[in-house]
């Protein structure tokens, strides 16, 4: 006799989805509470991811500017203020990013004229843009009334007579922009390196700080996601309790436990996805506004262009996390509903 009883027909997904859609529509208020939980959790995650991504890009610029600033400090420590002074520049293209910022800094601090000695090729844009660079053809012209001579770039150093070049300068000083070996200088000419690595303990301190930041971010994200999970679980348990009679009735009508479980899991994933989409939007909006206020539109624009794919990936991850969280948080309530005894529906006035 038992062999004639097949397993209950797998209920079409369509029916389950229909039940879920109706459930969400009718209990919109409670569904919104659950969705809001997901939105907040995902928004928080997204804002942290986006802010970190944008800062990574902005930080590179920040670090370069800081290095340029240090190099500028080393230079002016030798030469005094550069305001209204001339500088000779020996160009061994290409320039490093730090050197480009150093040139910009010299310009901003009011250096009068940059006399660029470059044997061949066009001058880089960063030099010609400011309008204060002038190309010179001889060593004498290069050093005339200059406070010092800067050797910039990581390329081949043009052959020149350093003694002749520094004859007209005030201090007979050759400052090295890139991290490279100082060319052989005559004894009366002093060489100074502007790009110096950070002292080891300073490097260690920075690494330590970065690690602490990363740990704190993970900790905060973890806690916030946990809170989100608990919130969703609570809200889903409410949803199950609210529908106790419906669940029991469906079980009396022949619904398998799996069907009941599926209803709640589908509901959770729908709400997780909807909440995830809004969470990603809200989180990105927040992070972009924050970055805009902190760094201004130019840096933000650069960072956006540079990190577009990373931001997209972050959004996708957040969305997936939202849906996953929601389903994860609903496992227990769904199981709770699935295990409910159908007889509960028979109790009147439930």
């Amino acid at each position: 006799m038992l062999s004639t009883i097949p397993n209950q027909v797998r209920l079409p997904l369509r029916v389950a989805v229909g039940v879920v859609a109706q459930g969400i529509r009718i209990r919109l208020g409670r569904s919104l509470v659950t969705v809001t939980g997901v939105v907040l959790g995902v928004a928080f995650l997204t804002s942290i991811l986006t802010t970190q991504t944008l800062h990574r890009s902005v930080n590179t610029e920040d670090r370069l500017r800081e290095q340029a600033s240090r190099a500028f400090g080393f230079l002016t420590a030798e030469t005094g203020p550069v305001f209204g002074k001339n500088l000779g520049v020996v160009l061994a293209a290409p320039l490093s990013p730090m050197e480009e910022r150093l040139l910009a800094r010299l310009e901003r601090d009011g250096a009068a004229e940059l006399r660029v000695y470059a044997p061949s090729g066009a001058l880089p844009k960063s030099l010609t843009n400011n309008g204060r660079a002038r190309r010179v053809r001889s060593e004498r012209e290069l050093g005339q009334d200059a406070v010092a001579i800067l050797l910039m770039g990581r390329g081949v150093v043009p052959a020149l007579d350093w003694s002749l070049a520094t004859q007209g300068t005030r201090q007979r000083l050759v400052a090295l922009g890139s991290e490279r070996a100082m060319p052989a200088l005559p004894s009366q000419v002093e060489g100074v390196a502007l790009a110096r690595p950070l002292p080891p303990d300073e490097q260690r301190r920075l690494l330590e700080a970065a690690r602490r930041d990363r740990f704190r971010a993970i900790w905060i994200i973890g806690i916030s996601l946990l809170v989100t999970i608990i919130g969703i679980t609570n809200s889903m348990l409410m949803s199950v309790t609210e529908r106790f009679r419906d669940i029991g009735t469906m079980k009396c009508l022949g619904a398998e436990s799996g069907f009941i479980r599926r209803i709640f899991l589908i509901e959770a994933s729908v709400m997780g996805l909807v909440g995830g989409v809004f969470g990603v939007l809200v989180g990105n909006l927040f992070a972009l506004t924050l970055t805009l206020v902190t760094y201004g539109p130019t840096l933000l624009g650069q960072a956006l262009v540079a990190e577009l794919s990373a931001l997209g990936l972050g959004g996708a991850v957040s969305l997936a996390v939202g849906a996953l969280l929601s389903v994860l948080a609903s496992l227990y309530p769904a199981e709770f509903a699935a295990r409910m005894l159908p007889a509960a529906a028979l109790r009147s006035n439930v």
């Binding site: 097949p6 209950q8 027909v9 009735t249 469906m250 022949g254 436990s257 159908p342 009147s348």
Partner: protein
Amino acid sequence: MTASNPPDAATRERFQTLFRAPTGDDRPRVIRAVNVHKTYTTGSQQTHALRGASLEVLRGEYLSIMGPSGSGKSTLFNMIGALQKPSSGKVYIDQVDIAELDHNELAWLRCRKVGYIFQSYNLIQVMTCLENVMLPMAFAGLEPEPARDKAVSILKLVGLGHRMLHKPGELSGGQQQRVAIARALANSPEVVLADEPTANLDQRTGQEMIELLDDLKQRLQVTVISATHDLKMLQKSDRILWIEDGRIVRDARPSDIDFGSAEFH
């Protein structure tokens, strides 16, 4: 007497002779319960809800079960409806021993063999009447097209052909109970279980409901088992069982009963 003890032969014999279906009737037994015990354990406290109840129900019979609250009536009802398994004893629904089934097979049995009518209707509020009636058909794997046709014809049968697309909340109690009856009949079950189906209805609507059930029983040859204290319903029954303290204590035909006596008032 503890529930786990197997019934001795004498006990079994006594119950079977006392409460078997009317003799001389060779209709098949849709429901058969033999010496059913059910014990609930809450903490260290054991409650014996059923202490050896036995009964047989014939196909097409209209059976009423009476009993005070706490008598084990609900528990017996749950067993007959494949909602619970007995602690000991046997319950056969259409010759299938429900104790042998896992929960999915029980769901299968409930879906196809049993129709439920609840005291408070228990319609799914978010679905239309039509969808409510189609739901058990969906559980049985019926395609939406034939399911809709069948649901429409059943709803017409219970007199609700004009309100099929309304939500239960928009209907009166009597109309909701009609939908519930239509839903109970959706998969052409062997037996319809009705738990106080008229308790939430006024007298006139209750009367209509009794007539509808009686009419459906005549027309569809469906077996109806109801728990009720409604006099009119009892009078329509083929047989009335009294349950007290977990045992069936009396089995009588309405014609043998004095409905004017004190126990009915």
